[in-house]
Symmetry: C2
Subunit: 141 residues, 2 copies
DNA sequence: AGAATCCTTGGAGTCACTACAGGGTCAAGC
DNA sequence: GCTTGACCCTGTAGTGACTCCAAGGATTCT
């Protein structure tokens, strides 16, 4: 299978596949006489594994760790749990701060209703007030 | 005020302040005889404004647009509204995908309960199954 | 005087790609 | 045989918003 076919089969961009090879996530495939990469079914599965992990927003370094577990099935799975837990914690922390952000932006957006000049804009006023250390609607609590 | 004092006054890293100057967000300050940057109160306020926007996760390019409105109070504020709306939309889109992510990771985490080998690990099993195109707990729906 | 702290510049590293530039290879059609 | 177009190769640079470091000069404290 050439790189274009692998790309179509997995939906992963050709450049991204080459990037994974350089980043040592995908083993370098055999080359045909003309220098083209020739992939096997094993490569396809490994790539699908990587993309599935990435769909879960797992960093590439953690994906690499997970791949070593795929390759050594006898090892203890404790670190796998830890990796997923860490990822869950990251996602939850980000989620909480994004919720706060949404509230803050909504409060800020509420400061400006109709069309008028920047000088009269409640949003800008609020952002400038915050810069003076004064209270702002978005960071009141 | 020297850069270290500005840094302490605002809680912004010295390197970040220099970065803002290079990125044209903060105007280049005067220099004292020894070449040290000398900041004014106006710089401090501008920096506080930038950081407040960044706390709302507004991209630096958008912050730069906002700063031009601070400098020209007579202009129409329509674009300000648009900027905040765009930011709110970005945050909400990210929020939705992060919620989905949390659900997926929780389902995946539920596959592994006790300590055992990687070969028996439900998490790894699920990730590999997904790589084979089979159903996985995390992307069932 | 020496040490610690501060300041300067410039460049590289982070993450996970993405986008070229400048070439080589191959199959189909004329 | 030649052109066209799709594919492939390598290597490098860019993205955003910093962060870190090296190598040196200035200032301040003891």
């Amino acid at each position: 299978m050439r790189i274009g076919e692998l790309s179509k089969a997995t939906g992963v961009d050709v450049e991204t596949i080459r990037y994974y090879e350089k980043a040592q996530l995908l083993s370098a495939p055999a080359r045909s006489d003309n220098g083209y990469r020739t992939y096997t079914q094993a490569h396809l599965e490994r790539l699908a594994f990587i993309r599935h992990c990435r769909a879960l927003d797992i960093p590439l370094a953690a994906v690499q760790r997970l791949l070593t577990f795929v390759d050594s099935p006898q090892s203890d799975c404790g670190e796998i749990d830890q990796l997923i837990d860490a990822q869950l914690a990251r996602v939850r922390a980000r989620l909480a701060s994004m919720h706060a952000l949404e509230r803050q932006l909504m409060a800020l957006r509420g400061q400006c209703t109709g069309p008028h000049s920047a000088a009269e804009c409640g949003i800008l006023h609020d952002l400038v007030a915050a810069a003076h250390g004064e209270a702002c609607v978005c960071h009141q609590n």
